[in-house]
Amino acid sequence: MVELERHEYDVVVVGAGGAGLRAAIAAQESGARTAVVCKSLLGKAHTVMAEGGIAAAMANTYPEDNWRVHFRDTMRGGKMLNHWRMAQLHAQEAPDRVRELEDWGALFDRTPDGLISQRDFGGHRYARLAHVGDRTGLELIRTLQQRTVALGIDVYMECTVTRLLTGRGGGAGGDGADGVTGAFGYWRESGRFVAWSAPSVVLATGGIGKSYKVTSNSWEYTGDGHSLALQAGATLVNMEFVQFHPTGMVWPPSVRGILVTESVRGDGGILKNSAGNRFMFDYIPDFFRKETAETEDEADRWYEDKKNNRRPPELLPRDEVARAINSEVKAGRGTPHGGVYLDIASRRSPEYIRKRLPSMYHQFKELAEVDITAEAMEVGPTCHYVMGGVEVDPDTEAARVPGLFAAGEVAGGMHGSNRLGGNSLSDLLVFGRRAGLAAAEHARMHPVRTALPDDALADAARAALAPFEREGGENPYTVQHDLQQTMHDLVGIIRTAPEMQQALDRIAALKERVANLSVEGHRQYNPGWHLALDLPHMLVVSECIARAALERQESRGGHTRDDFPATDAEWARTNLICSRAPDGSVALTRQPLPQMPAELAEVFEEVPA
């Protein structure tokens, strides 16, 4: 009998970023006994890194804005691969989700008449992002954290889930299929094991960026939720689409990848190459030509007069800007440190910059000794977000396993092949709430609780302790480094078939190395051990990305194939689904895109470009 702490809940939420906390709040408020389990301390989640704002068509600055325009922008930003129903719910519900944050204490920046101020961002037709300077994510996480505390929700901090438990009973489906019965994990502080029995589990674990060498993501982003879902029998969709944010820091090397918010461009910043040219005008794709300015004069006028001018090309969707920067650097027109220049100093007053972008000012001053009110920043693409994730029902966020739900970055479908800036914070509020409500409802429908079987718990404990049992094996940090290098070199912004094939071979070799890792020390707060347990997740997610990316023989959104540079009409109708094959490997199937109803398709006619 394995020694462990046991708890019983109606709903267990894995992850305490925006989606997890919003789900927990919804579940608790609808009467479910709810717990949140998170790898870090409460309030430290990666959501704090979101800078620009929350996209919501509140029409506070532009009365012309409404959910239909937001829906259209989102679908076009995702190159029409988004699940239409998710994009619709998201655009319709985001304004209410922002307003309710104010009832919980959030303080957004204001318009002159006292309403929530909204700022410009890439791919959004109107100024739409509710924001607090450039620290909107912190405001969001603190507001949800304080609401979570006020509601008395149990939070298991610094606690990592390593397995989902499934079986008959509990959250099982009506047709007798296995459902969720709980989760197994360990306290990071003590290394002791803990099990939660619950008919509903909401995954809100965020993304996968730590599999890449240059990333804006923290150590937590190891794809746990993606991997746990696969193992439990759920499916992943759109895994080939990884967003490289166009502007990460490039110098000094130790800060390479740290995010430089898109607000710099939304507030007037421009991109220049080493020759001083505003190169984005050379990279306007036909798909966005009608809505993008052709001259610098028109682009500059747009900030003041959006009716009669078109958007600057710096505010094209992120995939377009990231590719353009990549091309400029490859063509030898980059900065000394391999980026391009992002210049707001020559375009806005120091006071304006410090007021609108205080944390960017601070970040460059402290980490790079660059004063962004006086000189240009050096920036380049950084792995930022995965569009792919758990395939869910748009209305309930239910995965294919009964009792399993997913919301936020770990869920797939909402953003199609590319996410617009600002749509992430609204995504996690809209779908976090929906997942929490559906999880609570599912728990109500399954009042009979099943005991967690001892053999499953013992097996999970054995697997977690295995790295201590092995002697003389490899150091987990070396294996992680090699994986990051592989994904960076071979499955990055620009992809080719031979490189991805090579990546898959290397991932197979890395899997063998991970099976033979050993760690030093003991179970108490041991980062080497924690990494050893995260690595299998990182590998399975990396394999999903590489397999799906190899299969999709076209370029679209966050997936660019050097050997298939055009979009393809057949692929425009096809999603790729990853599942777990009986032998434990990743299986890939094609699935037709859900059909958008005619009344929504009309939106693309009625809203002018």
């Binding site: 870090s40 430290k44 204490g105 920046d109 006292g114 300077g133 402290e366």
Partner: protein, 251 residues
């Protein structure tokens, strides 16, 4: 640009520990957290340290560097001489869990005790109207990343475990100030600030403001105005009388 630095890092747990000396490579532009990570990946795989964003936004990697409370991710190695020994120790105000990780649950307990934000009703059109100038006062305190460096440096609790029960620390005094100045909040927490959270223990030495990585003026803009508001209520004879009358039992 690359050189070998001498690092002394405290290693141990609740039972005790000591400073261990390492020689470790340092490259251009690096911060202390980079060097700690290099130690982890090359010399001490089980070295315990908290961190997340590595950009000064999450407040996880707090420690004492050469005795000063700092974020490891925002302390550049170029601020030290190449020959200088860099000493990294855990936050002294909180019990050690292991190595550089401390038990900060005190802060989460205090946070949970503060009476929650309670808004006035929305306006007829469903929105809240506030002026920018009015939200900015509370916004300053909402910049707080909860690194707890102010708690670490505050002498009321730094070497006085006994005060922790009656004193919430600068982080939560500015939380109270934030709520007090919040344009929408309708709850008066001045009694609690004084009686439950120990506002009176603060003798405004401003050590907290000095270590704040966000540059929040905890003392000048938060704690002192809150003290003044408490005084207004306590020592104004009419307010005092009013509060006594209202508090009379109604049966």
């Amino acid at each position: 640009m690359t050189y070998d630095a001498t690092f002394r890092v405290w290693r141990g747990d609740a039972a005790g520990g000591d400073l261990q000396t390492f020689t470790v490579e340092v490259n251009e532009g690096e911060v202390v957290l980079d060097v700690i990570h290099r130690l982890q990946s090359t010399q001490a795989g089980d070295l315990a340290v908290r961190w997340n964003c590595k950009a000064g936004k999450c407040g996880s990697c707090s420690a004492e560097i050469n005795g000063r409370p700092r974020l490891m991710c925002m302390t550049r190695m170029s601020t030290f001489g190449e020959a200088e020994t860099v000493t990294v120790t855990p936050l002294r105000t909180f019990p050690v869990v292991r190595d550089l990780v401390t038990d900060v649950s005190y802060n989460y307990e205090k946070a949970a005790q503060i009476p929650a934000f309670t808004p006035r009703p929305r306006e007829a059109d469903g929105s809240h109207r506030m002026q920018q100038v009015d939200v900015e006062r509370s916004q300053e305190f909402r910049k707080c990343i909860e690194c707890f460096l102010c708690q670490d440096t505050c002498h009321v609790i730094r070497d006085h475990e006994e005060n922790k029960a009656v004193f919430a620390g600068p982080r939560f005094l500015i939380r109270l100030a934030e709520l007090d100045m919040h344009p929408l909040d309708v709850v008066d927490r001045r009694h609690e600030a004084q009686d439950d959270f120990g506002l009176g223990y603060c003798n405004i030495t401003k050590c907290c403001s000095e270590v704040c990585p966000e540059g929040i003026h905890l003392t000048d803009n938060g704690i002192i105005p809150l003290k003044e508001r408490v005084v207004d209520r306590r020592y104004d004879p009419l307010t005092w009388l009013g509060s006594k009358i209202r508090r009379r039992p109604r049966d």
